[in-house]
């Protein structure tokens, strides 16, 4: 998928990342997504923070300021219980989407 299409799935990727790495700051989330997708997906850094703040507001992730390994202040995010539920929903939705698109592509 091209970079722009990440809009809809950005939430899903961020939630999944946080469920896998636990607590992480914004830059780390971007780095993880890039690494874990073998460089196929690159998050537009500009749209990351609005998305993070939106999700924080909806209550899916919680934020806290902490020190990084290099003793610098950064804002760390983690998944909440509501976020876990949302993650499950999003995963299911994505499966349906993929199945549907595949079916159409295969249709002869």
């Amino acid at each position: 998928m091209a970079k722009n299409d990440l809009q809809g799935t950005l939430d899903l990727l961020v939630l999944k990342t946080l469920s896998q790495v636990g607590e992480m700051h914004g830059y780390g989330i971007v780095a993880h997504i890039q690494r874990a997708s073998d460089d196929l997906l690159r998050v537009e850094e500009g749209s990351l923070y609005p998305a993070l703040h939106r999700m924080e507001q909806r209550g899916w992730i919680a934020a806290d300021w902490a020190l990084t390994e290099t003793n610098r202040k950064a804002k760390y995010y983690k998944l909440t219980a509501a976020g876990r539920k949302r993650l499950q929903e999003e995963e299911k939705n994505f499966e349906h989407l993929v199945k549907g698109v595949r079916a159409i592509l295969r249709y002869a």
Partner: protein, 882 residues
């Protein structure tokens, strides 16, 4: 993040923005740590400001944030124009305060429902004349036997209650020596039950207390009186109180909010109607009739039934011994049922019209103040135009701009409302005090409640819309290109200002016009020729429960005359202009009984001289004269009943339906003098001797009368206490129940007119002031706007008059238009205010001339500074400033 956090974030904007910036910075720092170059990292992140604002707007409540910004901006605007803002706030505060005050008064007197069960089903029965005349005379008093018949007939449809007027009466508490005054109201025993009221102490009356005349000597105190007079002493139940000859036992205290059925007075002691001395009389009308109509019951059939019962009662009462015309009018008298949700009282009737007119004046003053502020906002728009244009250029919606201006208007309005609330708080009781007379203090329950608060809020909203909406719409319609270029469409703005000036002048005219009429009315009444000398005359209303012979009264009068400072003393039944009345039909030389009433007053010999009422012919009474026997009549009596015949020596008879007539011979003629009311025309009066005899020529004892004491000079009030004591100690069983001066009686009659004149004058002054300030502001603004033009014209040779014309021409035109509109409006409203006027007509030239002159002077005064400024414009400086 909940809505509350988002709202709170609005007020922590700085901190929030900082936090977001920090996060973005740390992102870049992290990127740098991972080996990327800073420049590249920042570019990848994108526009930091944009990112920050995106995140920020997610975390605040949008509309609240915009509101906060507008408030801050508006406050800065107001501070920049301190003087004009202060003037606007003050004038608005005054007008709004007056509005709230007027509302409180009208609510307390006219609108607030009585604190009883189902006030919406409460009605009052009134009697109207059989033929509707131009001024329907509505009479609210009923005779008790008539009431009993109506109550029986209404069973099943409505509950009828009898309540008397609240009268100031002498009462004595057995434990105290002093006689004091209390407000006493006689009410039906069933009233408390029907109204659903519970006692605060003891018990209240029941229907059982309506049984037998004179057999229920019980009293109920009102809560208010119990608190004020007895300090809520629970031991007051069981105490006794003496009224006149009777002793009553206090059985309970009423509920906290109930103060009687008459707004304007607070009842202190309730007594059962059965204990009133008129309760069995068929010919005395002394109480109101109220009705609680059962739910769903139609009013008209009930009214018709009551009317039939009442008419039958009147016909039976009069029998056949009255003039046919009188019988006819009694037999066709109409009964009206009027809603009485807020009770029924004479103060309501007297002041309803007056208060409404005051409310109209107040509303006009408010509109003038709003027009002033609208002018201010429009003038400020120039400095705001650039700001607006900028906002439009970067994408603000029209509604956003409107909101900005409205917020500023709202801030002005709220500030003014605070000042207005203080003014309204203070002024309502002040007005109440102004309509109080020593004998009948007005008491209105002016408690603050949600109605006043709701009115206040509605007023603020209305005011904001009035003066804020138009400038807001106008300001938001700005076109960025022209605004940023520096030029502006000043013509439409000026037209708006001038239109507002015309409106202000028109309203100002109406206010001054009406105020002039009211002041004129008061002056006419105040200086109405009385025919007698009212100064220095002290009146002592005296009672003697067992009655005393007229000689005893005369002796006491003599003893008063001996006191220092006293010039003359006389006795009469009651004073002139005390609204007392004794009337009867007149029959001259055995002719038919007249259809008009003649009016009578008992006076002692020497009364004419004491009153300084000139005797035009004949002689004064002698000690031996009696009634029936001799009479002294006034000129109107001669004209009305004797035609052109020689009055001295003529006989006339006072026709009585329940007995023989009383024949009198006229021994003197006096000048005309008002009898009952200052406002009514002169009535035909026959003065008869204080010495009354019955058919067997036995002299009747008198149980009440008034001593009139003319003092030599100085303050008549000062001697009052001494004279009172002299009478009490005369040992003749006489007791003074009231002391006042004749002048006080006169003043009490024109209380309402005085109130209207004072308030009218006050509001007229405020209106002229506001209009003048507004005019000054607009002229100033015009000159400032047109400085360049004026400079050029002066450079081209225009002098004095031409410059003045430039500045003032349009405004003068507006003022003229406004004045004409004001004249038309004023004459139009004159019809409705006629009932409040006396001796002045709306079409009087003088009445129209006053507002014209006032406005002309105000315009001239307001124009002088602006014109001077225009004349002093230096063309060189103007052109250099380009």
């Amino acid at each position: 993040m909940s809505i509350w956090t988002r709202m709170r974030n609005v007020f922590q904007g700085e901190r929030l923005r900082q936090e977001i910036e920090e996060e973005l910075e740390s992102h870049v720092a992290e990127a740098v740590e991972h080996g990327r170059s800073e420049v590249e990292a920042r570019r990848a992140l994108g526009n930091t400001l944009r990112r920050r604002e995106d995140s920020y707007s997610l975390r605040v409540t949008g509309w609240l944030d915009a509101l906060r910004e507008d408030v801050v901006f508006g406050w800065r605007q107001l501070k920049r124009n301190k003087v004009t803002s202060a003037a606007a706030v003050l004038s608005l505060a005054l007008a709004m305060g007056a509005c709230v005050s007027a509302f409180r008064l009208m609510d307390a007197l006219l609108w607030r429902p009585l604190p009883v069960a189902h006030p919406d089903r409460l009605y009052a029965l009134e009697r109207g004349p059989s033929t509707p005349t131009s001024k329907p005379l509505v009479f609210g008093q009923w005779a008790y036997p008539n009431f009993e018949l109506m109550r029986e007939a209404a069973k099943g449809k409505a509950e009828l209650l009898a309540v008397s007027n609240t009268e100031r009466t002498d009462v004595t508490y057995v434990t105290d020596e002093e006689t004091e005054k209390a407000y006493v109201q006689y009410v039906s025993g069933s009233m408390f039950d029907v109204f659903g009221l519970r006692p605060a102490q003891g018990r209240l009356f029941t229907a059982q207390d309506d049984r037998t005349p004179g057999a229920h000597p019980y009293a109920v105190l009102s809560y208010d009186y119990w608190k004020r007079r007895f300090g809520r002493d629970p031991k007051v139940v069981g105490k006794t109180v003496r009224l006149g000859e009777r002793i009553f036992e206090i059985v309970g205290v009423g509920p906290e909010t109930f103060t009687g059925t008459e707004p304007g007075t607070v009842t202190e002691i309730f007594l059962p109607t059965m204990m009133n001395r008129w309760v069995t009389r068929k010919d005395a009308s002394w109480h109101r009739t109220l009705a609680i109509v059962n739910p769903g019951e139609p009013i008209e059939p009930l009214r018709a039934k009551m009317e039939a019962v009442s008419r039958r009662f009147e016909r039976e009462r009069l029998g056949g011994a009255v003039p046919k015309q009188m019988y006819e009018s009694a037999a066709t008298e109409r009964v009206l049922i009027e809603p009485a949700t807020s009770g029924a009282s004479t103060m309501q009737q007297d002041y309803r019209n007056a208060l409404m007119w005051l409310a109209v004046l107040v509303a006009l003053v408010l509109l003038i103040a709003c027009a002033n502020v609208a002018n201010l906002m429009t003038a400020l728009a120039t400095s705001r135009a650039r700001e607006m244009a900028l906002r439009v250029a970067i994408g603000a919606g029209r509604w956003r701009l409107i909101q900005m201006v409205l917020v500023e208007s709202a801030m002005l309005a709220v500030l003014a409302a605070i000042g207005g609330a203080v003014f309204g708080w203070w002024s309502a009781p002040l007005v109440t005090r102004m309509i109080s007379t020593p004998d009948y203090p007005a008491r209105l329950i002016l408690s603050p409640d949600w109605r006043v608060f709701g009115f206040g809020v509605a007023l603020v909203v209305a005011v904001v819309l009035l003066f804020g909406l138009l400038p807001a719409l106008r300001a938001s319609a700005v076109r960025p290109v022209s605004a940023l270029k520096g030029g502006e469409d000043t013509h439409t703005r000026r037209r708006a200002l001038h239109g507002l000036i015309a409106v202000q002048v028109a309203f100002c005219f109406v206010v001054v016009f009406v105020a002039g009429l009211l002041v004129g009315t008061f002056r006419k009444l105040e200086t109405r020729p009385l025919g007698f000398d009212a100064s220095g005359l002290l009146l002592l209303e005296t009672v003697s429960p067992h009655g005393q012979q007229p000689e005893t009264w005369a002796q006491v009068g003599e003893s008063l005359r001996a006191m220092p400072g006293v010039e003359r003393v006389a006795e009469s039944g009651w004073p002139l202009l005390s609204t007392g009345d004794w009337n009867g039909s007149i029959s001259v030389n055995g002719g038919p009984a007249s259809t008009d009433w003649g009016h009578f007053l008992t006076v002692s010999p020497g009364w004419l001289e004491t009153m300084r009422l000139p005797l035009l012919a004949g002689r004064d009474f002698r000690q031996s004269d009696t009634f029936p026997g001799a009479a002294i009549v006034n000129e109107t009596f001669v004209k009305q009943f004797l035609g052109g015949k020689e009055p001295l020596g003529a006989y006339f008879e006072k026709v009585n339906y329940l007995g023989p007539g009383q024949k009198c011979q006229i021994v003197g003629v006096v000048a005309d003098a008002p009898y009952r009311w200052l406002r009514e025309p002169i009535l035909p009066v026959a003065f008869v001797p204080y010495r009354e005899v019955d058919e067997k020529a036995v002299v009747q004892p008198e149980s009440s009368g008034t001593f009139l004491v003319r003092m030599k000079d100085g303050d008549p009030q000062a001697m009052g206490a001494e004279l009172r004591r002299k009478i009490s100690h005369a040992g003749a069983g006489l007791r003074v129940s009231n002391v006042q001066t004749q002048q006080e009686l006169l003043d009490a009659q024109i209380v309402r007119e005085r109130l209207l004149a004072m308030l009218g004058f006050f509001f007229a002054t405020v209106a002229v002031l506001l209009a003048g300030i507004g005019l000054y502001g607009v002229l100033n603004y015009t000159v400032l706007q047109r400085q360049k033009e004026i400079g050029i014209r002066i450079a081209l040779g225009a002098r004095g008059a031409k410059v003045m014309r430039l500045v003032a021409a349009e405004v003068v035109r507006m003022v003229t238009i406004g004045s004409i509109a004001g004249i038309v409006l004023g004459l139009g409203t004159a019809r409705y205010v006629q009932s409040l006027l006396y001796g002045v007509k709306a079409s009087d030239a003088a009445m129209l001339g006053i507002p014209v002159a006032t406005i002309a002077i105000a315009v001239a005064l307001a124009a002088v500074p602006a014109v001077r400024r225009a004349l002093r414009v230096d063309p060189v400086e103007m052109l250099r400033a380009e």
